[in-house]
């Protein structure tokens, strides 16, 4: 309750948080388009390149009037962006090289100028180093008002140009051929990017500002394939991280805001990367794991069935040792577990003392897998002219993935030539 009381009592944290939230939302929205332009790294370079501008602004004026600092930052950021394009299109250097050249040169100059101002002895320079990692607590009412106005302007522009931005990020060439002013639109998008970085440097800092552009979009990409929804999710990620980041930074002394926000954003992005139901890495691994288990089980049933064919007796009893000789690559423990689940799902009878035999449905299943195997072999030999001695291995893996629809199609293709189709049908 103490914390809640603290928030309500302190008006400052409310308006600062509001500023951060708008800033985070606007930069993540415009950053989403930048990500599809494949310019994520360029955003980072632009942000770093703003440091010398900030310092020069201070050196010229001698105090920390935000208008001059921000203008300086905007100008050097802009020059850096032009330079990146110029170098990559007029020399043999590729875009990533020119990006890292500009990033390091401008940032190096910025650090140099920062040292100079710190040694200049004026009392005013204190706090200039906050531009590296950001200090939301240093925002004044005026700064927050500026952030709110400019962020709203950025969001409004994106809403107005949504259709156009979508077209130029997907297919610039087509946009040109229908007479769209692609150069102007690209310029507007770049302008909005630089603007959103500029208004963020004071509260988030030049070093981490690009994470505000890209991280929410990268995380949101895992949850949807719809651009509107993706941008909406990205904005929500950004707002959430903004609120918590600003709060943590404000309540803990000496804690810079930028890293706080970025930590929250990264947690969200990482969470998306792991747990997204569509493309999340855990989902992918889980799929692979269950597929492996299924294949092992199907192969065991097929083995039982084949032994049945060889002995002309589908009730033939097989011991663990026999099975193991055929599945030597599976550990005893795992093999035992697979056999247990097969018993549980009613494909095998357990006869005690490590001996099993097929049930009626186990027989059907075994016959079905063998049928798919033979169908695929027949298809390969007939339509792909692959030698019969080479088709077995291929069919070993394909037999597990053929769907009933593909099965029907294969039967209609190779049905007549299919040697034992009657035999398998009889046993199904």
């Amino acid at each position: 309750m103490d914390i809640i009381n603290l928030i309500y009592r302190d008006v400052t944290i409310i308006y600062i948080t509001l500023g951060i939230v708008l800033l985070a939302a606007s930069s993540s929205i415009v950053g989403s388009f930048f990500m599809f332009e494949k310019k994520s790294l360029v955003g980072d370079a632009i942000a770093h390149s703003m440091l010398p501008g900030l310092c020069l602004g201070f050196l010229f004026i001698g105090n920390k009037n935000p208008i001059y600092l921000i203008s300086g930052a905007f100008i050097t950021g802009f020059i850096s962006m032009i330079l990146i394009d110029f170098i990559s299109s007029n020399s043999k250097l590729k875009i990533e090289t020119s990006t890292s050249i500009c990033l390091s040169i401008f940032f190096g100059m910025g650090i140099l100028l920062l040292s100079i101002t710190q040694n200049s002895g004026t009392a005013n320079q204190a706090g200039l180093q906050h531009f590296l990692f950001g200090k939301a607590a240093s925002l004044l009412m005026n700064d927050v008002i500026n952030i709110c106005i400019l962020s709203s302007f950025i969001i409004l522009c994106v809403i107005l140009f949504f259709k156009e931005f979508r077209l130029i990020t997907f297919d610039k060439v087509f946009a040109k051929t229908i007479g769209f002013p692609v150069k102007v639109l690209t310029f507007i998008l770049n302008f909005l990017i630089i603007l959103s970085i500029t208004i963020g440097v004071q509260s988030v800092g030049v070093v981490l500002m690009s994470a505000m552009l890209i991280t929410p979009a990268a995380g949101a990409r895992f949850w949807t394939n719809n651009l509107y929804k993706m941008i909406f999710i990205a904005a929500n990620f950004a707002i959430f991280s903004g609120i918590f980041g600003a709060f943590v930074s404000y309540t803990i002394n000496q804690m810079p805001t930028g890293p706080c926000i970025v930590v929250f954003m990264s947690i969200l992005a990482f969470f998306s990367f792991l747990f997204s139901p569509y493309k999340g890495i855990i989902k992918v691994f889980w799929k692979r794991y269950t597929y492996k288990i299924r294949i092992e089980k199907e192969n065991i049933l097929k083995f039982f069935y084949e032994v049945g064919i060889n002995n002309k007796d589908f009730n033939h009893i097989i011991s663990f040792k026999n099975i193991k000789t055929n599945f030597s690559f599976i550990s005893n423990n795992k093999l035992q577990r697979r056999l247990n689940t097969l018993v549980k799902s009613g494909f095998l009878y357990y006869l005690g003392s490590k001996r099993w035999k097929l049930t009626e449905s186990g027989k059907h299943m075994g016959a079905y897998i063998l049928k798919l195997h033979c169908l695929w072999e027949a298809y390969l030999t007939k339509y792909l002219n692959i030698k019969p001695c080479h088709v077995h291995e291929d069919a070993e893996s394909i037999e597990h993935i053929l769907t009933p629809e593909l099965e029907q199609e294969l039967i209609s293709l190779v049905g007549k030539e299919f040697p034992d189709s009657e035999f398998y049908d009889k046993n199904r």
Partner: protein, 269 residues
């Protein structure tokens, strides 16, 4: 043999084009007829795509001029449609089939405006014609190569142009789809459309196209397909006795010499 058309859809006069500073098309001088299905064939690196891109104003030409329906491109842009190569875009972009086909209507919508009822009808109709209406809400990242190609063609159809330039529209599609698309082209020609296609499969040219342009850094032949497609032209297009042209091109690129001298002075102005 370069046959000129008396009532041309497109007329290219003495055009030379460089791509990445390397001259790839020399003195292109052709005129193509209206209301026909026309193919541009030639080996890899012959400049087929470059020819289309120069016509669409995507590459600056070094000399000459291009007229479409006797006008410059900018005057009749809305009558001209261009289908880029399928690989030219990132199909992982988050958009549905409908979103992409709707892009064909953007030129009529103008800035800031949204799709009207008529736009939506045309988009649905275009998807219908390429039998991708059932994929309307499918994400483009989940499409097969042939379906992606049909999405691009539907987008072009939605533009309702009079002349269509298509860069390899038959790559990555199966033969039955290819036939269906050719049938569609024939329907379009009946509605007074002109279709110009960069084509890679020399064997199907005879069956599909009324007029054929054979190209290998320069125009080797242009005329009705049955008159143009002969052993001599074939040998000249695909044979390798163009070494001098290629070597000169390489020198021009290496030494950074503009292919037309007046370009040296333009920059100084």
């Amino acid at each position: 043999m370069i046959k000129l058309s008396s009532d041309p859809s497109i007329e290219i006069h003495d055009m030379t084009v460089s791509y990445n500073r390397k001259p790839v098309l020399w003195g292109v001088d052709i005129s193509l007829p209206k209301n026909q299905i026309i193919s541009i064939v030639g080996p890899n690196g012959a400049g087929k795509s470059t020819l289309l891109k120069s016509i669409m104003g995507l590459i600056e030409i070094d000399s000459g001029y291009i007229k479409i329906f006797d006008k410059s491109l900018n005057e009749i842009r809305h009558k001209v449609s261009y289908v880029p190569q399928r690989e030219s875009v990132d199909w992982d972009f988050p958009a549905s089939v409908y979103d992409i086909v709707m892009m064909g209507r953007y030129q009529y919508m103008g800035l800031f405006r949204r799709a009207s009822k008529k736009d939506k009808e045309i988009v649905l109709d275009s998807m219908e014609k390429l039998s991708i209406a059932s994929l309307k809400n499918r994400q483009i990242s989940q499409l097969s190569g042939g379906q992606q190609q049909r999405v691009f063609l539907a987008r072009a159809l939605a533009q309702q142009a009079d002349i269509y330039f298509m860069d390899e529209p038959f790559s990555a599609i199966d033969i039955s789809t290819e036939n269906a698309i050719i049938e569609l082209f024939k329907e379009m020609v009946k509605l007074n459309k002109t279709i110009i296609v960069v084509h890679h499969d020399i064997y199907s040219v005879k069956n599909y196209f009324d007029w054929t342009v054979m190209l290998n850094m320069r125009i080797i032949a242009s005329g009705p397909t049955n008159q143009v497609l002969n052993a001599e032209n074939f040998k000249e297009t695909y044979g390798s006795h163009l070494n001098i042209l290629t070597e000169v091109s390489n020198i021009v690129k290496k030494e950074r010499i503009p292919i037309r001298e007046k370009k040296l002075y333009k920059k100084k102005k």
